[in-house]
């Protein structure tokens, strides 16, 4: 049986041997991080390209269409063609832009979400940095996107972009709260913020949904988490910052070419990060769905679960109509947060009186 940890050990062992042969083994920690970053970047870019293709195919088949089918087999290379087109496009800039934030915004949007991938455990022992405050780190670092969106909206010197930025600030600040509140019940039970430790807890105690005590609160938490994560990633039905029928493109109205591609990449990476956290925390990460399927490596199960969760996020986008701004705020503050707090209370009661007493 091959595991992700063995592959990782082999690759890093080869790297370290090479460094030792060159007599620069003191560089090993740096080279490890750089290699991990490059591998992550390439892997994520390819995965995002696949996801864009998948989103177009999913939306097409939901609307009785075919979707991309001209470039490559089943249109798989369509996104590659789109990426080439985006990179060679002319970069059109507003004359009266605020130069520094205008250039920094797409970089923040990309980097802030990309940094979230650092703590995701793809398999047992396979993550760039297994932080002991993993969940806190992910939620904190992906919250940076609001700075990118707000500065993009402000520096474009465009009323639609500015409105998009304001809406985004209101939305992300509101939905950060239920996002955190929905993860707390899990942390209460597992007693750790470490993502791989949460998966190990599920490995030891079974899946959340197989335990009748935890099934209901964890399901509510999962639904709240997916909803808030969709809102955090600015995806429909919560895409009011870029609502194209109202605000043209919202905060990225004045961006084109590579800068737009970075916003686009950032949005998809945000989806990947939130879905990865959802898979890790609620669906058992790299664990096989049935013990007898353990011969398949863990990272395969992780990717399968990830794609299933992302499919549902895509299905939301192509099914539900966009919320109005006031509806969005009402939904966040009047529904998600009270339910999340009640759920927290329920989980506390379950944990204190039923699980521990039994």
């Amino acid at each position: 049986m091959i595991t992700g940890e063995q592959i990782l050990k082999t690759v890093s062992g080869l790297l370290h041997q090479g460094l030792a042969a060159a007599g620069v083994s003191f560089l090993a920690p740096v080279v490890d991080r750089v290699a991990a970053a490059v591998a992550m970047f390439l892997g994520i870019s390819v995965f995002v390209m696949f996801l864009v293709w998948m989103e177009r195919k999913v939306s097409a088949h939901m609307q009785s269409r075919i979707g991309p089918n001209r470039v490559g087999i089943f249109g798989l290379l369509q996104t590659v063609a789109d990426a080439i087109k985006l990179t060679i496009k002319e970069d059109i800039k507003p004359v009266k832009r605020d130069k520094v934030p205008y250039y920094i915004a797409p970089i923040i949007a990309f980097v802030a979400t990309f940094m979230g991938m650092v703590v995701i455990p793809f398999d047992r022992g396979v993550s760039v940095q297994d932080l002991n405050i993993g969940i806190l780190y992910v939620i904190a670092i992906t919250g940076f996107t609001v700075i990118a969106i707000l500065s993009a909206g402000w520096s474009s010197n465009n009323k639609f972009a500015l409105l998009g930025g304001f809406r985004s600030a209101a939305q992300i600040v509101s939905y950060e709260v239920p996002l955190v509140l929905s993860v707390i019940p899990i942390i209460m039970v597992t007693g750790t913020l470490n993502l791989s430790a949460i998966v190990e807890y599920q490995a030891a105690h079974g899946y959340w949904f197989t335990n009748p005590l935890y099934a209901i609160p964890v399901l509510v938490s999962f639904l709240i988490f997916i909803t808030s994560a969709t809102a955090e990633a600015n995806r429909a039905p919560f895409d009011i910052p870029e609502a194209e029928s109202e605000l043209i493109g919202g905060f990225h109205t004045e961006y084109s070419g590579v800068k737009f591609a970075m916003f686009f990449l950032g949005e998809y990476i945000a989806v990947i990060v939130s879905a990865s956290v959802a898979v890790t925390v609620f669906l058992g990460g790299w664990l096989p769905p049935l013990p007898m399927l353990g011969f398949i490596p863990g990272f395969v199960w992780f990717m399968v679960k990830l794609v299933v969760v992302i499919y549902f996020v895509m299905a939301f986008r192509w099914t539900f109509p966009r919320l109005r701004v006031d509806q969005l705020m009402a939904f966040g503050w009047k529904v998600l947060i009270p339910i999340a707090i009640l759920n927290l209370l329920l989980m506390g009661v379950v944990e204190l009186f039923l699980a521990k007493g039994a």
Partner: protein, 171 residues
């Protein structure tokens, strides 16, 4: 108490509605039903009487056009885009010699086809890709518009009768 119950009822109802919507889209996604027609490769069969192009009917048995150059089509044309000439044959019947229809001004109103009393002009259904690179190519003569009616489109006896009556009345 009632307000609290209504609050939870609304949330449950909302969730149920979202579930119904998702089930519809998921059903469509899983059945993979495709309504798109891949146009250049696939073509839908057009109804036999759809109006794509105007053609001059050529009678293969008699080796001549049905047109007798009565000028009714040219007079009926609102844009005057039909120009034609004819001669009187030795047997006393008139025959069309040149026929020009300028499709760059034609609006496909069909008045010429309606006005024709000799079953000489008709709409065809299959030739609907009529874009050209030069405007001059739209000026078509009788050779370009020559069209032999296939057997399955031959007028039925009851349909052909009024044409014959009209022909005899016009003669």
């Amino acid at each position: 108490m009632g307000a609290i119950l209504r609050y939870f009822k609304d949330i449950g109802l909302g969730l149920w509605n979202l579930f119904v919507g998702l089930s519809v889209t998921t059903k469509y996604f899983l059945t993979m039903k495709v309504n798109t027609q891949q146009y250049p490769e696939e073509r839908l069969p057009l109804p036999a009487r759809s109006r794509s192009m105007i053609k001059l009917i050529y009678d293969g048995e008699k080796d001549q056009f049905n047109c007798v150059a009565c000028m009714m089509c040219a007079k009926a044309c609102p844009n005057s885009c039909i120009k034609l000439e004819g001669v009187r044959m030795p047997d006393g019947k008139r025959r069309m010699t040149t026929f020009k229809l300028d499709f760059s001004t034609c609006i496909f109103c069909g008045y010429c086809v309606e006005a024709c009393g000799f079953d000489a002009l008709t709409f065809v259904s299959e030739e609907y890709e009529n874009s050209v690179y030069k405007r001059g190519s739209l000026l078509q003569d009788e050779h370009a518009m020559k069209w032999a009616r296939p057997a399955h489109l031959a007028p039925k006896p009851e349909e052909a009768a009024p044409v014959a009556a009209g022909a005899s009345a016009g003669a």
